[in-house]
């Protein structure tokens, strides 16, 4: 046990938790004013439901030893994990933990909280809250937990195969990004899209959320070193540089294509860079994060227009940023990976490692894409035909804040129109 490492992972846990409210405001600013509370609630609610489910059974399904595909029920209710000598299957030798297992449980909990919350940007303005709540819980256990097991647990089949994912390019971003596409295909477009303008109601909120995400991402990526060490420092620098280069790439591309550098473009580019560096944060060094971030910034800018071409209403571009950024990052890692940065990693194509890593990365990306898309689609369909996943046309016109939560975000009752009932 190392107290310095433990302190850093505890700190990172708090940083990653903070990303979810950050995401809520990143998304919340982009929706129309009548839906901002609905968006914030979908994200905040994940901090409630997912945390509880994680302690009850989620962690056990992700990190228990049930073979390569999924965990088991040995750690249900966090059984035995609080003991000072607790151990996790597979975390031995090179992968041995130097922090208490219970700290690792908490750290991973925050990843589980934010991942399904990412999906909500794609389905903005039209999810029925009860249907969302059920989908959220099911998705955590049936989609997130297995994929986390495959990739993060040393007993998972993709981990054993040699696929690299430092902090969640496949598990978090590709997983949530392709699930977002599946759910969008089930619930359909917002009424009026793409004809009606549905501009962001508060870009200042979006920029504030971006700042919180960027800040929290240091815990997400540098915390994934699971120690306060050289690798954590490298991951932190990589994270920051990719965000910076992502912003520059997006802004430059939109300045050339549409004539203006926009605040939403700067925010989106930074997030695209952060997404793309996530899988490689602890495996690359030098100028690689700048290349990865800049490529993601430009490509994600181009990718967000795909929804108009193919006619799916990915409202806040979860597919364009998280899915595309996650795939780019997972594959670029196979070119830039460097054993001198992380001896548990590999050498990529540019460092004389040949194409072996690229094959592993393609398998990991493909497996996550297929599994998550298919299961997410079936889950969403199941919830939709049973309790309903989408609000009625009237509720959609009224807005989620009033129809789902009986509140208004900016309830300045200046006309004295509000009367207390009872």
């Amino acid at each position: 046990m190392d107290s310095g490492n433990t302190a850093w992972v505890l700190t990172s846990t708090a940083l990653v938790l903070f990303m979810t409210p950050g995401l809520a405001f990143f998304y919340g600013g982009m929706v129309r004013a009548k839906n901002v509370l609905g968006m914030l609630m979908q994200n905040f609610f994940s901090m409630g439901l997912v945390s509880v489910l994680w302690a009850v059974v989620g962690f056990s399904l992700a990190f228990g030893d049930g073979g390569g595909w999924i965990g088991d029920f040995d750690f249900v209710g966090l059984k035995g994990l609080g003991a000072a000598d607790a151990a996790l299957p597979g975390y031995v030798g090179d992968f041995g933990l130097t922090i208490p297992v219970i700290v690792f449980v908490g750290y991973q909990m925050m990843f589980a909280v934010i991942t399904p919350a990412l999906i909500t940007g794609a389905t903005a303005d039209r999810l029925k809250f009860a249907g969302y709540a059920v989908f959220l819980g099911l998705w955590l256990l049936i989609v997130y937990a297995p994929v986390a097991h495959w990739v993060f647990s040393p007993t998972g089949w993709l981990f054993k195969r040699g696929a690299l994912d430092f902090a969640g390019g496949t598990v978090v971003h590709i997983n949530a990004g392709v699930a977002a596409l599946a759910v969008v295909l089930v619930v359909g477009k917002r009424r009026g899209w793409p004809r009606d303008a549905m501009p962001p109601h508060s870009l200042p909120l979006t920029l504030l959320g971006t700042g919180i995400l960027w800040f929290g991402w240091f815990g997400f990526n540098a915390g994934s070193a699971l120690g306060a060490n050289n690798l954590a420092g490298q991951a932190l620098i990589n994270t920051h540089l990719a965000a910076a280069a992502g912003m520059l790439g997006w802004v430059l591309a939109e300045r050339i294509k549409t004539g203006h550098a926009t605040t939403l473009g700067a925010a989106s580019g930074a997030v695209a860079g952060l997404v793309a560096i996530t899988p490689g944060a602890g495996f690359v060094g030098g100028l690689a994060p700048i290349a990865i971030g800049a490529i993601a910034g430009v490509f994600c800018f181009l990718a967000v227009s795909l929804k108009y071409r193919f006619g799916y209403d990915d409202s806040l571009d979860v597919v364009g940023v998280h899915l595309v950024g996650g795939i780019l990052g997972s594959l670029l890692l196979a070119f830039f990976a460097d054993l001198r940065i992380n001896s548990l990693g590999a050498d990529g194509v540019f460092n004389g490692g040949g194409s072996a890593l690229l094959v592993d990365q393609l398998v990991a990306v493909g497996a996550t894409l297929v599994f998550s898309f298919v299961v997410s689609y079936v889950l969403a369909k199941l919830v939709d035909v049973t309790i309903g996943l989408r609000v009625t046309a009237d509720q959609e016109a009224e807005g989620l804040d009033a129809s789902q939560h009986a509140e208004s975000a900016y309830a300045m009752s200046e006309f004295g129109a509000m009367g207390r009932v009872g």
Partner: protein, 112 residues
Amino acid sequence: MKLITAIVKPFKLDDVKDALKGAGIQGMTVSEVQGFGRQRGHTEVYRGAEYTVDFVPKVRVEVVVDAADVDRVVDAIVAAARTDKIGDGKVWVTEVEDLVRIRTGERGPDAI
């Protein structure tokens, strides 16, 4: 000259705008308003305390037209804004005595 004032549901504004453009209208003024007619407001709940909010958000559309065009334009607005549900709004027409285009000083129907 007549002033046509329409109170419509906010999400029908685009349809109304398109209908007015289709009817050859060159300009219009739009404002966000709140009010109520027969449509009920809604209830909000804060820490268990329930409140009624009587006023419903609407959009007010105003256009000045030549007297000869009134029926055609009103019909276009009504057709575009109708959902057949309570709360679709109202349209009314009032007389306009004079009109000035500020830039040129043109008056009357020439300023429409």
